[in-house]
């Protein structure tokens, strides 16, 4: 029997009712927001800081995430992370979905749940214009220096082709600059990147022939079947009602491959490409460095200051931890009984002998396997503080050993306890020895704190990298950020010098006051 219009309507209502239940439940589970992971440092047209207003994050994936969240009945909240660390964030439960140019590959499909694709396109080779010896075909790549993004599908293609691969953590702009400068022979990247970065450089030529196919999908944790199903449904609806095509057209990303992959027709021919146009005008405007600084930098300052604030707070808190733990370790090592000496020595050797970055990643991404989930700030604070504690312990030890043993004996003969002798006689003398290297360490820590960007913290260097990649201004912003680092460190260096002169007063003048 053919369904009458009435029964068809009933079916639709039943279906809606059938999906409304789980949808509402999903919205509840998500606490009203879809936390989606992306790396704004990756740049245009994915997720990047608006060059004309860097406080805003824009890009076609921002619009897609918001449209998807709206379909799920929740708000979209962006969680920033380093691109290579986005998928681990899923397993950690810090984000619900990753939406940031993640290419569909068999191994990703095994380890995670991929939605249906939302973009299909090519990988494109870019070479120097007029470079006769440039590799213009995938077959010609063997042995040639080729730039690409680390962890991308293009990197695998290049490795398979036997190319001499150079990967760029710092962003897409860098890899095209290196090509223009002759440091590489070609760049292989996804078509959107080539269009937004490669094609803007007059001395570069983006080759039209595809060097490989690529599809982007949203990724959820392997356990999250429910969210995958909901996102697939939502993507299907966005494709069917033309929203997806309009978003892609806004960023001039619409192409036939996407249409074929999703089984939809394209956007209207007159669909505006305002996202692309805004990017092009913002990055193409040829201004002198001076006028750029004058016009743009004031609007960058709030973001940079926020990054600097995080850097400062994190560094001061980590140094405080390092000083306390370091003093305890040094005390254990110099004055403690055998076992405590070995314990402290073991700690110092292990912590000092392994990279800080490794410790940070283990602390943040490894501990959850044991059921310990640290907040990003806490993980960064602990990693920096406990790492520098080893250095401070060695400083303190040198300081304690610089005070003759007879000083402690003189204190003991007066009747002071061992602890009182250390506290009132040895430590104050050691402090003068410890202070200069400790100041040095604090300045190092201030700079090393940039590593915490791998645990989603947007500190100063991270903020710089994503701003520089969004505005394609590495030099001017770099000088500005360097100045900020100096400003952060200088007051502490001055404070330490003042303290040092106070502690040396007995050597210099003789009379107090």
């Amino acid at each position: 029997m053919r369904p009458t219009p009435g029964t068809a309507l009933l079916l639709v209502v039943l279906c809606r009712a059938g999906t409304a239940g789980p949808e509402a439940e999903l919205a509840r589970r998500l606490h009203g927001e879809l936390r989606w992971g992306a790396d704004s440092q990756g740049g245009a047209p994915y997720v990047f800081q608006d060059p004309s207003d860097p406080r805003r994050v824009v890009g076609f994936e921002v619009e897609l995430a918001e449209a998807l969240a709206a379909r799920l009945g929740v708000r979209a909240r962006l969680v920033q992370g380093a691109w290579e660390q986005l998928l681990p964030l899923l397993e950690r439960g810090d984000v619900d979905v990753v939406l940031n140019g993640i290419e569909v590959t068999p191994d990703r499909a095994r380890a995670y749940r991929l939605t249906r694709p939302y973009y299909a396109g090519s990988q494109l080779l870019t070479v120097r214009r007029g470079d006769g010896g440039a590799p213009r075909k995938p077959e010609a790549l063997a042995g040639r220096r080729v730039g690409t993004l680390p962890g991308s599908l293009a990197e695998r293609v290049l490795r398979a082709a036997g190319a001499d691969v150079r990967t760029y953590d710092g962003g897409q702009d860098d890899m095209y600059r290196d090509l223009a400068l002759g440091r590489t022979d070609a760049v292989l990247a996804d078509a959107p990147i080539a269009a937004y970065y490669g094609a803007l450089e007059p001395e570069l030529e983006v080759l039209a022939a595809s060097a490989g196919d690529v599809r982007y999908a949203a990724v959820v944790a392997s356990r999250d079947l429910e969210l995958q199903a909901a996102l697939d449904l939502a993507l299907g609806e966005l494709a069917a009602d033309g929203t997806l095509a309009r978003i892609l057209a806004r960023w001039r990303l619409w192409n036939g491959e996407t249409g074929a992959a999703l089984g939809i027709s394209g956007p209207p021919a007159d669909a505006p490409a305002d996202g692309w146009l805004a990017w092009e005008s913002a990055t193409r405007t040829e201004r002198s460095a001076w006028s750029r600084a004058l016009h743009r930098y004031p609007s960058f300052l709030p973001l940079l200051l926020r990054g600097a604030g995080l850097t400062l707070v994190l560094s001061v808190a980590a140094m405080a931890l390092a000083i306390v733990v370091g003093a305890v370790l040094a005390g254990m090592r110099v004055y403690g009984p055998g076992p405590s000496r070995w314990l402290a020595t073991g700690y110092i050797e292990v912590v000092r002998g392994t990279p800080l970055l490794l410790q940070l990643i283990v602390l943040y991404f490894g501990l959850p396997e044991l059921g310990v989930r640290l907040h990003p700030f806490v993980a960064g604070w602990l990693a920096l503080g406990l790492n520098y504690a080893a250095a401070e312990a060695e400083n303190d030890r040198a300081g304690l050993l610089s005070v003759p043993v007879s000083q402690l004996e003189a204190a003991r003969v007066l009747g002071l306890t061992r602890w009182q002798g250390i506290r009132h006689v040895v430590a104050p003398q050691a402090l003068r020895i410890v202070l200069p290297p400790a100041t040095n360490d604090f300045i190092s820590l201030l700079k090393d704190s940039s590593l915490v960007s791998v645990v989603t913290l947007a500190e100063l260097t991270r903020t710089y990298q994503s701003l520089a990649s969004a505005t394609r201004d590495h030099l001017g912003l770099g000088v500005l950020v360097a100045a900020l680092y100096l400003l952060l460190g200088l007051p502490f260096a001055r404070l330490a010098r003042w303290l040092e002169s106070r502690l040396s007063v007995h050597l210099a003048t003789g009379m107090r006051r």
Binding site: P404, S406, A410, V413, L414, G415, Q429, G510
Partner: protein
């Protein structure tokens, strides 16, 4: 109230299987008197003082000071009871003269600052250091430093005072005055023990003289 310092059959070796540094030392110093132990450098005189002061453990024997005793089981028995004027004085370089003397009374006797200050300033007065109360040790002469070390020890009102080579860090011209300082302390009626390699000092101080020979004492 003051008691004699008694050392009875004291044995000490630095390493378990090493030679004995002190082999059966016995001596007695009555309250208010001074005994001098003379012997070559490295004979073990400093070791004897460090055992009495409680800084060094020993293997057999005992040390008595009135009710207080040190034994191999409790070698730190007299720690804080006995003053020791170190050979190099060991003043605390980061503290002024007054603070050097105040540290013990404040932390060990829990003396409030005004009382502690009164006690210390009285001692500094007697030792002619009053004008230097706010100076740091690095600015003082050898003789001044020695007097600060004495003041610091006496500020703790010790039951005995030990001197380790009191003249070795001083100019020859000051040697006579050291003997006078030691006799001056005798007025406080505590026993004093001086070790020195310099027989002249021993004679100048007066009092009973012991000779340190092969880890033992003879008069």
């Amino acid at each position: 109230m003051s008691a004699p310092l008694e050392v009875v059959d004291l044995w000490q070796r630095h390493r378990a299987e090493g030679p004995a540094v002190l082999s059966g030392i016995s001596l007695r110093v009555p309250a208010g008197e001074v005994a001098v132990v003379v012997g070559p450098s490295g004979a073990g005189k400093s070791t004897l003082l460090r055992c009495i002061a409680g800084l060094l453990a020993f293997d057999a024997g005992s040390i008595r000071l009135g009710q207080r005793t040190s034994s191999p089981e409790r070698p730190e028995g007299l720690l804080g009871m006995v003053g020791l004027v170190f050979q190099g004085f060991e003043l605390f370089p980061h503290l002024t003269v007054r603070e050097n003397c105040l540290l013990g009374p404040r932390l060990v006797h829990r003396l409030p600052r005004p009382e502690g200050r009164a006690r210390v300033d009285g001692l500094l007065e007697k030792l002619e250091l009053r004008a230097l109360a706010d100076a740091f040790p690095a600015t003082l002469s050898g003789g001044q430093r020695q007097r600060v070390a004495i003041a610091r020890a006496l500020a703790m009102e010790p039951l005995a005072l030990l001197w380790d080579e009191p003249t070795s860090a001083l100019d020859a011209s000051l040697r006579q005055s050291v003997a006078a300082l030691i006799r001056g302390v005798s007025a406080t009626a505590i026993p004093q023990l001086v070790v020195t390699h310099d027989p002249e000092v021993a004679r100048a101080v007066g009092g009973r003289i012991y000779r340190f020979v092969d880890g033992g004492l003879c008069e």
